[in-house]
Assembly symmetry: C2
Homo-oligomer: 142 residues x 2
DNA sequence: AATGCAAATGAGAACCATTTGCAACTAGCT
DNA sequence: AGCTAGTTGCAAATGGTTCTCATTTGCATT
């Protein structure tokens, strides 16, 4: 609670420094994002943000998300056959496991895989700029 | 040449067995796909297929690609910020390295990464159904 | 507190890759 | 050759996302 409040203030600072105004609508979206434990999409964020500020429009949600993405504050993910989903970029780098039955997203990280990726790119004569690794899974039954 | 011809006949057989009719248009699209060395998108396939059979429409390209995908003959890839690209599913499984400057796609395979992925899923209580691994790279300068 | 102005907003139109409805064909079995 | 369900081309629809534009607003400066 207190943490997320601080986090919000911090995020607002990042925006101001980036020359991005902190409006009522953006504050609402930022708060929702900072408190989100999941990976909501634009319309879910819109739904949640409207509870704080009913005037927030979907256009503004999209525009704000793009602005936040450019500031490096938010990350956009385009998982298979789905609308874009978002998360704050405060956690260290990680990849995603998607439950193909529920759509739930679990974060994970493997330094070994990260390293192997860089090696593969290097072997092929490339520098790795970024990557996308998604595991589409089904919950183990037993 | 001869190989791709055989491959086409083979693919047509798969379709017929799957209860999918091999029409003039589908034969053209199949030929283009079998001969493609790259990862073309729907409109590029359409452009190429029209050279064989001018009547092929873009709708049919899309419909055929969906049918082929369902038969497991074609794979669809949705790389970042781009339209879907396709390839025949005859080669063994591989992942992709995308040159972010040219859009060129290079295939690669890492058994180690494959194995690590399965282990990660298992640790999290999941069975890995499929995955997506894409390396977005820039050609090394020197 | 009032002012000025660039940035931001809401509503809806535009975009664009992909899908779909429909009436006219046709592959492939009999 | 004929039948019939699968296919086709065309045009219209779809749907997530972006853009346009007239209006509002944050905020630096008086």
């Amino acid at each position: 609670m207190r943490q997320s409040k601080n986090r919000i203030v911090e995020l607002e600072g990042i925006l101001r420094e980036g020359g991005v105004r902190v409006t009522r609508q953006r504050a609402a979206i930022l708060k929702i994002l900072a408190e989100a434990e999941d990976h909501p999409d634009a319309s879910e964020l819109h739904r949640r943000a409207k509870e704080i500020d009913a005037t927030v429009s979907l256009s503004t949600v999209y525009r704000t998300l793009s602005a936040l993405e450019q500031q490096g504050v938010v990350q956009r993910h385009a998982f298979e056959n789905a609308t874009a989903r978002f998360e704050t970029a405060d956690a260290p780098h990680h990849d995603h496991l998607i439950d193909i039955e529920t759509g739930a997203v679990i974060e994970f990280r493997s330094d070994k895989i990260e390293q192997l990726q860089a090696e593969i790119a290097a072997e092929l004569g490339y520098d790795l700029v970024r990557h996308r690794l998604e595991l589409y899974c089904r919950k183990r039954k037993e």
